[in-house]
Symmetry: C2
Subunit: 243 residues, 2 copies
């Protein structure tokens, strides 16, 4: 393997790309051991620190894992949904906060995606999913709950709804949209009356889901979306007037 030292990209970036491509193309398969750092240095004709930088890049994307010791080394990592979740959420969160995405746009995306899961979830949700949702509703009605905890519970509730569709790909894609909204939601402080309204809609949603009533679920979600949007609008309005 050879690397172009005249490219404008870092050597470590080129090496990382080379290995990444090998993983994506299937030349390197899951759990396969990569050559040792010393061997990679020879193959790519670079120093060990440079190889290490390349490997760290791959590790940051969970594409490899490393093990020390005699039989250690870098191994192609089986990328699991569990591992991919946090990265997806981090990226989505930063995208929202760094690109001045309006609350409305983010909210629309989130509820659009979530409503698409509703029919499947109404069909396939297990008792487990329902139990989780009921438990979260109960938590949300506790008086002493902080706004952060309320929002976290809200996220857990909606994730149970999405997971109810029984499609891991769908759950993964939705995770980013739902979780990344949390910081934005936290900016809206909920009054007791607002919470009661949200809990009421959550209950309606759970009831419809329990009855396998897809239309009911969709209606409840639409209600949540418009209520949330209006709430945000009024909060923003108040803040603007104060300032």
């Amino acid at each position: 393997m050879k690397i172009d030292p005249n490219s404008n990209a870092d050597l470590s970036a080129q090496i990382a790309k080379s290995i990444r491509d090998a993983i994506i193309s299937g030349d390197l398969i899951v759990d396969q051991r990569l050559p040792s750092e010393a061997e990679l240095s020879d193959q790519f004709d670079v120093s060990r620190p440079t190889v290490r930088e390349a490997l760290k890049r791959l590790a940051a994307q969970s594409l490899i894992r490393t093990q020390r010791g005699a039989t250690g080394g870098a191994f192609v990592n089986k990328l699991s949904f569990e591992e991919a979740y946090p990265q997806q959420i981090t990226t989505s969160t930063l995208l929202l906060s760094m690109n001045a995405v309006s609350f409305e746009t983010a909210c629309e995306a989130r509820y659009t995606l979530e409503r698409s899961c509703a029919p499947l979830s109404a069909l396939r949700r297990t008792a487990d999913h329902l139990a989780t949702m009921r438990a979260e509703i109960h938590r949300q009605s506790q008086p002493g709950l902080t706004d952060e905890a309320f929002c976290a519970s809200d996220v857990a509730f909606h994730r149970a709804l999405v997971d109810g569709a029984g499609n891991p790909v769908l759950s993964y894609q939705l995770a980013g949209a739902v979780e990344a909204m949390q910081p934005l939601m936290n900016m809206i402080t909920f009054s007791a009356r607002d919470r009661a309204k949200i809990i009421e809609l959550h209950t309606a949603l759970a009831d419809a889901l329990e009855a396998n009533n897809a239309t009911g679920v969709d209606t409840a979600l639409a209600g949540l979306e418009s209520y949330t949007t209006n709430l945000a609008k009024s909060v923003m309005e108040k803040r603007k007037n104060k300032a």
Copy 2:
């Protein structure tokens, strides 16, 4: 800043996490310059190579960019949708290939998400989106087209549909679902008759979109999903019989 040398995690991973948290929390803002590698070495009380490994981890996630020269250094990167797309697609592709996700499951997720965009797109699509879709349909009907090119055009067509919803967050989330399907779609070689059928459905979809007919778009998408699923099923069946 101090790092725990007795943790089981690598120093570079801990440092990367520390800086990443600072970015997420807003302590470090976009375009802000991080301390130089030498300064970071001092602050975290580690060597420069270790700091560099940490920075490469962050660079792999597009959280920072580096610049050489007198006024150079590492800067907090404004994560753009354009930058996040490829990562999202790589991750989604690997998740599908490494986790034995069935074609059916992936296909269901993809069309479920895409159908959720249909109403918005029927409402908001511009002439530009329509033109792209018509152009891709035209390309798809060229006789000499390879299967790969046909699939690539298919992806472009569907991305135009999604982009028509005019919501960047939605487009981003959908990119992974749509693009990650391409390698799976490539495994199904399309006969001329299959292509004609797909083009027919694409045309119906574009027509409905042009008429702002949300229901028509949804019907066409549902048709595409069932046709694709059945096609895949029969292809798999044939392969099993051969073997």
